[in-house]
Symmetry: C2
Subunit: 372 residues, 2 copies
């Protein structure tokens, strides 16, 4: 597995249960290494390190999208099973490419978009689709980074200057009116087995996922459409592995794809407690072409709340006991150094209703972050 952060750490926990020989590419201080996962020191951008990892493994897979596609194509050409394949990973590496690909699939709706190479491209787009609009970095963005919501031309020019200074290529997107945000996880194996998790409702603050509930308030019909869409997309892109699909629900039950991630995803953490198969185990099953696990929820409802480093720089782990006192709280700490705004863990609660689950999960997360 290229990467050794918290997703690889939880992947390692899943690998232990099946006694699978996961090796992570990263640094000794990373979350997965702290969990005892076998580590190859290095970066996913380093061709020699990735080649060495591939030589030691049966299958190469990924915890993040910071990869060199040309290098991966070279490995594939030499017969290394790269899952998902470089062509599929390209969808996550270049979001403009993702938008273009998705917009060409019948039955898949995406916000209007256009490439941006000069300021007039934004103006032209705005004349057609109006303000506000969204500028997005083609690559490298996550957790709200690389996204600029622009109310007018002046804000757009500031964002453009900022992104150019950072060396980012941009595209422009329509700001869709959002009724709710959803996410669906889908696994597909090389032999074509398919498993889709139930759709969850997600809540972002400043572009970073803050909490997730299941079932969402969007109703069974929308949930079923999201699940169907996930299956279609997995087939169409030729997924081998796990894919998270973030969706916007717009007025009139319009369902638009916001973004794909070709890996385990923050919006899928609650399946660890709420389903028979965690997304981490499912990812390993999929890339190893093992049968996929059941995705039916075990519980009527569940919620997950992220634990983020508080502004005072204190470590939520120091308040673990307070959080564990919340009934039903399943706490996950990633073993990362505390910094304000950094994702350091999450709490999942299973309950009879999404409201009850969310209330308890927020209570535990608040205690870790020491919100009063």
């Amino acid at each position: 597995m290229v990467g050794a952060g918290q997703l690889a750490r939880m992947g390692w926990q899943a690998a232990i249960s099946l006694d699978l020989g996961l090796i992570c590419l990263g640094s000794t201080g990373d979350a997965a290494a702290r969990a005892g996962a076998p580590l190859l020191e290095g970066s996913g951008r380093d061709a020699a390190a990735v080649a060495e990892l591939a030589a030691r493994c049966d299958v190469l897979t990924f915890e993040h999208e910071l990869v060199d596609l040309a290098m991966l194509r070279g490995l594939q050409a030499r017969g290394v099973p790269v899952r998902p394949s470089a062509d599929v990973l390209a969808l996550a590496v270049d979001k403009l490419h993702q938008r273009r690909t998705l917009s060409e699939i019948t039955g898949v709706d995406v916000p209007a978009f256009a490439p941006v190479s000069e300021p007039s491209d934004i103006q032209t787009f705005a004349e057609r689709h109006g303000w506000p609009l969204v500028l997005k970095a083609r690559s490298g963005g996550y957790d709200g980074r690389g996204v600029w919501m622009c109310a007018d031309a002046e804000e757009a020019m500031v964002a453009l200057a900022e992104s150019r200074a950072a060396g980012l290529e941009l595209y422009v997107e329509q700001a869709v009116e959002i009724v709710a945000e959803l996410a669906v996880l889908v696994a597909r194996s090389p032999s074509g087995r398919l498993a889709v998790y139930p759709a969850v409702e997600t809540f972002q603050v400043d572009g970073m996922c803050r909490w997730v509930v299941m079932p969402g308030r969007f109703g069974d019909r929308v949930a079923a459409r999201a699940v169907e869409l996930a299956g279609t997309l997995a087939e169409r892109v030729g997924l081998e592995g796990l894919m998270a699909i973030e969706l916007f629900l717009a007025p009139g039950e319009r369902l638009l794809v916001n973004e794909l991630a070709l890996r385990t995803h923050n919006t899928g953490h609650l399946h660890t407690e709420a389903s028979d198969t965690s997304q981490f185990e499912q990812h390993l099953r999929a890339v190893l072409d093992l049968p996929l696990g059941t995705t039916t929820p075990r519980t009527p409802a569940a919620a997950m709340v992220n634990v983020v480093g508080p502004p005072d720089g204190s470590d939520p782990a120091s308040r673990l006991a307070d959080a564990l006192a919340v009934p039903g709280a399943c706490v996950h700490l990633y073993g990362k150094a505390a910094r304000p705004g950094r994702k350091l863990g999450h709490v999942t609660v299973c309950a009879a209703t999404p409201e009850a689950a969310l209330e308890s999960a927020r209570e535990a997360a608040d205690r870790l972050e020491r919100h009063e």
Copy 2:
């Protein structure tokens, strides 16, 4: 943690979630070490190794009862928190002492028993309680080892000779008519917090646990009495940590204590999937005096079936894909070398009824063991 077998391995998985610094005392080939748990090389019988482990930890706890109580008392006298304490561990180390202690607690029923120092002790006991009777080793027995069911005096003399040749001290016990076997897990923290898991029904073959279901067929009234008994026992013995209580249900709803284990236990594996708190996390919470976790089941029913090395010596792990094809099967492999009769893993299934859960869990375990 003294010990590094599969229980420590699953303890390590739980420690990762809470980012706790678990160190196991054992060998590099042990199950916990294979899961990446930090390891101190050595044996729980080796005073120097245990002292070194204690020096590196805030709290000393245990995965097995193969410990030197005098050494532990020495550590306690020097202020090392030993949880459970040496006095409590003594109940598991010497089963005759356990029987005597339990028989002195009001409201606790145990089979009639007597120490055996010479053959006539067995004869005297048989005259009073009849045949068959059970000879048991005072210490060192597990999974059916150290237990002899004797139909008559001749069999008893053979067992006595065998056990003496092995250097074992014995006691004799009444063979109780068993309607069902139950187990209950209870956690108690140093500050007196108490959490009891629901009673499960257990099935043994040749003295080794083969499967467990929840809820059992013994009904709510018996289940409630078992839970109450577990709480009483934890308080009375002054438990700090986790204790498993194996019980016999005899005719007339008579509930007798069969055996105590002062650690996580095979009969508690299903709580990992079926409850908000696994026994492994609960054990860590208890010995660290953290709040205890919720023990309410998340699912109507669950079953756990052990995976035992088949007679042909083949490795169940080689048939993992077959087992994962069983819907709902949560497979745990321990990463141990395959040997006939050795516990190598287990499968848990959550379902609407104990029958459905058991059927699926057995199917997956059978596939791993390659039973046709």
